[in-house]
Symmetry: C2
Subunit: 391 residues, 2 copies
């Protein structure tokens, strides 16, 4: 297998409802990524695109074909990946494999979504289709419900009083907004306080409004190249050290593990193994904080803290830039925004810029190794990517 490097990244500002289509949003990010790589659209050999709700949001399926044509790379092989929130991370892993295997030298991967355009109530109902259509959402369990259940289970299993857990969860959101306020691409560039979280309206007990990420519009894109090409294209190389992916059935099928997500543990294990690294080696992570409780669960499944202990770590500031592990310096899904299909490669975008030292106020000093973590549905898809600076 050949080494594969990121030679260009691009993303739109994430936002609420606006007038661009997913094709246009992805094209904007893609053109930035291609320009940054010093390549031309005609150099792209294949496209891997994550998009979850395009049919529902815009009546556009198979958008990858129109995107390829639209960005000036007509006729290249182009796939659409629908892995719920992890769509573009799944796309990234396949893109990585096609280059690592030696079949392609330069490919484009990314995602786009116009989820905000649908409005939160419709998007919530629509997106609930990523849970089990037999036993989950028909029973009323949309994703806020899923994560509310996990929060209760977490509190009970690890003997964390619910009020304490709610405080820790609130701190997660406060941190996200702190960094988001310093990210010009973030949807919400505004700091919030613990009081703001705890006084926001109740979405699904114990999750309040500010425990929940928004639905967003946005696009993100990454150009991947084989080492030989990458060495000529960039003097700030970031390469893909490891990838992992796993799936899981509905929540009931995961009952022996919850609130741990077995798919995340397996996916992370694969990525660590491929990279020859352990959680201790990771300087910065962009993880899937769709809800504040999701951050606590992720930090434990990924091996950064013991089970039931990540809330205390958050309280001690260990998840801040400068702490034990810098978590979501982009602002995460909560503050940067969550355009479903674009989220995975937007995490890659942040990690790459962190490893290049381009993140200003929210820069993790000397970051050499970063990781992404993307969750689709209630554990249905889990993807992890480990990126490393230098060769």
């Amino acid at each position: 297998m050949r080494k594969v490097a990121v030679v260009g990244v691009g993303m739109t500002k994430f936002s609420g409802k606006q007038d661009k289509t997913a094709v246009e949003l992805f094209a904007e990010a893609a053109v930035d990524a291609i320009n940054e790589s010093g390549l031309k659209p005609a150099n792209i050999q294949a496209l891997f695109l994550g998009n979850a709700l395009g049919d529902f949001a815009e009546g556009q399926a198979q958008l990858q074909a129109f995107v390829a044509d639209y960005i000036g790379a007509p006729f290249i092989p182009a796939n659409r990946y629908e892995n719920a929130c992890a769509s573009s991370s799944a796309a990234f892993r396949d893109a990585f494999m096609w280059v690592a295997s030696g079949f392609y030298d330069i490919v484009l991967v990314g995602g786009a979504e116009t989820a905000a355009k649908m409005g939160t109530p419709l998007a919530t109902r629509t997106f609930a289709m990523a849970s089990d259509s037999r036993y989950e959402y028909p029973c009323g369990i949309t994703f806020p419900g899923v994560f509310a259940l996990l929060a209760h289970l977490y509190a009970r299993k690890y003997n964390v009083p619910l009020e304490k857990l709610k405080y820790q969860m609130a701190l997660v959101s406060v941190n996200s907004h702190y960094y988001g306020a310093r990210n010009p691409k973030a949807q919400f560039q505004k700091e919030i306080t613990v009081d703001d979280v705890l006084s926001s309206f109740m979405v699904c007990q114990p999750l309040q409004l500010y425990d929940c990420c928004p639905f967003s519009d946005g696009g993100s894109a990454v150009v991947l190249a084989c080492e030989e090409k990458a060495r000529k294209l960039t003097d700030k190389p970031v390469y893909v050290a490891g990838v992992g992916q796993a799936s899981a059935g509905n929540l009931m099928s995961q009952k022996d593990y919850l609130p741990r997500l077995r798919s995340r543990e397996l996916s992370a294990e694969q990525a660590y193994r491929m990279a020859g690294l352990t959680p201790k080696d990771i300087d910065v992570i962009e993880l899937h904080d769709c809800f504040s409780i999701a951050t606590l669960i992720a930090l434990e499944c990924l091996g950064f803290f013991e089970y039931g202990k990540s809330g205390e770590a958050v309280e001690k500031g260990e998840t801040k830039v400068g702490g034990k592990i810098a978590v979501n310096p982009s602002g995460g899904l909560k503050s940067k925004g969550h355009p479903i299909g674009a989220t995975g490669t937007a995490q890659v975008y942040e990690i790459v810029r962190q490893l290049r030292g381009e993140c200003g106020e929210r820069q993790v000093d000397g970051a050499k190794i970063g990781m992404t973590d993307t969750l689709g549905g209630d554990g249905g898809t889990l993807c992890n990517i480990i990126l490393k600076r230098g060769w």
Copy 2:
């Protein structure tokens, strides 16, 4: 790159509306394929699943995760591919690459759809989303319209009188039904005559009902293994000699080529090149006859006949079993049925069984090399797979 072989295939009977979900249909096909391979579900290392309309037909997105769990292969990486009608062919190509690259030894690929469940009017409108949402279907061009336009263009460009073309197209459907009547998995196991076609109701001039394939419910699955494993698993090896894929923007962007589909020419060229073969080497092809005119266009783009001449070849019987190139001995989309996401790997199913000599009355004698051709949208995705008997 390692050699990759098909070690098991399975498919449900294709049908009109019935009560099974896409997850259940795929599971049925998958279990057959896994049993045929002599493996167990726990041996499957990754799942690649084509499904185009699941969200609309059943309110089920991300079904790959539930499928993996359902068939007894929980937690494996599982991707959903949405490449319109070519969804499972795109999935097949990625599955092939993961094994060829040496990353996995045994993977499962397939597709499922419950398109018939939606009813033809709704499915037609819904599936039109695979055309351009800016300039195509909002103008009223659903896919029967797209192929009706291509038929008129074909007649004009190649100076084939429309009545003659309609007769040739009718023969295409007659042939499909002749073979479908001999395929126990086919949706329509009934022969038809040219008169039946020409007296069927007009769908979109010049396409009549029997020029059009149905929307179907069904599932199909293929187990792929690396050569080392495959040699132990089967004494009837069929290996993947070549794969190709290309995309195209909307019809207007393809105007310099039409009625030729450039994406098909590029895709086929890739597959032939990888296999080191030419059209003359192909004994049997399963091609994308979504409409009868599509067969004539495909036969020319794939290099079997000169442009404008495939209708005459059909008249001479050159596309029948025993002719120059055996076309759609399964009955094709027209007679076997077209459960969108399942179609690509169902074509693989037929070719594999042909190469193993298991097709009874519709067997192509001594078939050694077969090919599939799957079209998504109006050229948006084109995939070709070449399969070869023996090692």
